[in-house]
Each structure stands twice: as C-alpha cells, then as structure tokens.
Subunit: 202 residues, 2 copies
C-alpha cells in the first residue's frame, strides 16, 4: 500500500492525502513531525535527503518528494490535470506561484501564529509574511473575482495546491472576507465530493 | 515572434531564453528591471499581476509566467522533458526543489552580494542564505556525486532549472569546489551544444 510520511497540520502534506483520496488510492499515513526533528533523523534523511515532508513511497519503494510533484504524479490522466499544452501550462504557473509567492508567507504566518506561537518573537518576519501574503491573495482575487477556478473551467491540482493553505489562512491572521472571490472559491472547493479540509489549530 | 520580458542578470529569466534557444524558437527580449520598478508599472502588472519576470508572450497574446512553467511548456515533446510517468515526476521534484529550497537562498545571496551590494546591511538574512544554500548544494551533491544528471540518463529541464543559479553561485559566496559532483555537472552542462551561460557581475 502507498505510504505517506506527513504532518497532519501541514497543508503541503494535506495535498498528498487529498489527491490520493480523490483518485481512489488507499494509503497509510506515517505521522512525521518536522517541528520536533522527525524529518532530520538518519532514517528519514535516507528517504528524503532534503529533510522535508510530505514524502510518498510506492509499493516498489519508489520515493516521491515535493507536494506539488506528488499532486501532479497522481493527477496524471485524470480530470484534475489537463493534457499537455496551454491548459496544463496554466496549472503549472499556479503550482510554482504557490510554492514561491504564497506558501512561504501564508503558511509561515500560520505556523508562527497558531502552531509554533512565536509570532511575537519575529516581528519583521511576520510583517513580511502579512505583506507578501496579502499580495498573493490579491493575485488570486484578480482571477477568482471573475472565474470559478484558478485556470480552465473546472477544478485542477492548481486549485488543490492553493486551497491547502488558503482555506486555513485565518490561522495566520489573514481575513478572507477582504477577498470575496477567494472566499467563494474556498466554499466551492469545499463542496467538491471527496474534499476533506485540513485539521484546525485547537 | 515570441516576446520575453526579462532581466539579463536573472537566472530565472535566463531559463526562458535558454529553453527557447535549445528548442529553436526565435524570440525578442524586452529588458525589464525588477530592481528599479520595471515589474511594478501598470503596463507590466496588466501582463503579470504577480509583478515578476520572466514573462513570455506568444504570438496570439497568451501570457506564460513562472520560469519553471515556461521551461516545461517549451520542453514538452522534446528530449528535455520525459513523457508523463515516474521519469517526468523526477523532473518535477527537482523543479519544485529549485524554487523552494535552492533559489530563495542561492539567488538572494548572489543578488545581495554582487548586484544590490547590500549584504553587509542584512547579516541575518545572509547567514540564512549561506546555511540553506549550502544544504541545497549538499542535496544536489548527493545525487551528482554518483550520476551525470539530476534525474534519468540525460539532461532535462530539471538540470536547466538548477544550472541557472548554481553556475553563478560563486557570486553569492558559495565555493563549488566543496561540491565536486556539482562542479563536474556544471562543466558537463556548459558543454551541451547551444548552452549559453548567464552574464557575470562586472
């Protein structure tokens, strides 16, 4: 059975579980906490030298790292990923946007605020997260204020990737009511059959 | 003719020009300096709301953003990108690694050191760049110490993406002689017909 090494509260790890659920592949989850050294053990580094979760291990031992590479791998030949061409390129643009311009601010603000609870110790970092995170949400709003999905006419892995941290952005101090198109899109995705949201901070 | 908005000293922008050269597509280059506000004008933001270069504009006006999405778009159905399946997934893993774990440290160290020349003003940021950049190079060395290419048996867009800032990493203070597999790979890629290196700091 497919194995997923992940941390339950991580949006990046949620992506792996969600695409496996949506494409009907059973998997077992191995909780691995990056905040307490679980991704830095010799055993884990032998699986992923980059020391990050999620990691997927296939039945034959093949390892797949990087949350968006995992999304793409399991979405191939399904409705979650258009065939090669401009439609697929549109998906790719959002996947790289997510990892470079969205996650480093919105996920980090959430972690510092609601999980590590060290936001007060890092005021400059938090200020940068709030500014750049707001920019990323504004880029999304520009699209989602006028369209149902980030690209094309139906949900794709681009929507899943951006949903991961956007639907819990309030835990980082972002108010999605300022972005009505984004908020409506979160509700639209939440209603897709098979979608399971991320655990919330207690 | 394909138009590329880019900054000549940027490794991300170099990727767009290089894949167009390697796949035989003529293009015109529109120099656009992100450091002096060129990516924040209303005209540019109408093309890319995220305010970043490179941007490619096709003959029909279609816009493609994100350097690694541009690499993938033009590499489709060429030897630079394997067909869908595990071989392509291996390429994807390195592309996301590049944008998340490599570029934010190695490109930023280079910019602060050799272009903005403000490294002395940001000691904590530089220290983080040097630590995380060294980690990224170590991950590459683990693969390239024993293999010619990052994935598979020939060069792919994964190699192009990582080459962009690795071959000029010395401008950020990284010594590639510590990573002999990486250094040999840089030489191997440089020798590929059609490869043109990035402009160096004066």
């Amino acid at each position: 059975m497919i194995a997923v090494y992940g941390m339950a509260v991580s949006g990046n790890c949620w992506k792996a579980a969600q695409i496996l659920r949506l494409t009907g592949r059973p998997f077992r989850w191995i909780e691995t906490d990056g905040n307490t050294g679980g991704t830095r053990t010799p055993e884990f580094l032998a699986i992923n030298p980059n020391g990050k979760v999620p990691v997927v291990v296939l039945d034959d031992g093949t390892v797949i790292t990087e949350s968006n590479a995992i999304l793409l791998h399991f979405a191939e030949a399904t409705a979650w990923l258009p065939p090669p061409g401009l439609a697929r390129t549109g998906v790719m643009e959002w996947l790289f946007f997510e990892q470079y311009s969205h996650e480093p601010y919105i996920a980090v603000a959430r972690n510092l605020t609601s999980y590590a609870k060290t936001a007060a110790q890092f005021p400059e970092r938090m200020a940068q997260c709030m500014e750049r995170g707001a920019q990323a949400l504004a880029v999304m709003e520009r699209r989602l204020g006028a369209h149902d999905w980030l690209t094309g006419n139906g949900p794709t892995v681009a929507d899943l990737a951006l949903f991961a941290y956007t639907h819990v952005a309030n835990e980082g101090g972002f108010d999605l009511s300022v972005y009505p198109g984004v908020a409506a899109w979160v509700a639209r995705l939440t209603a897709v059959p098979g979608m399971v949201g991320l655990a919330r901070a207690g």
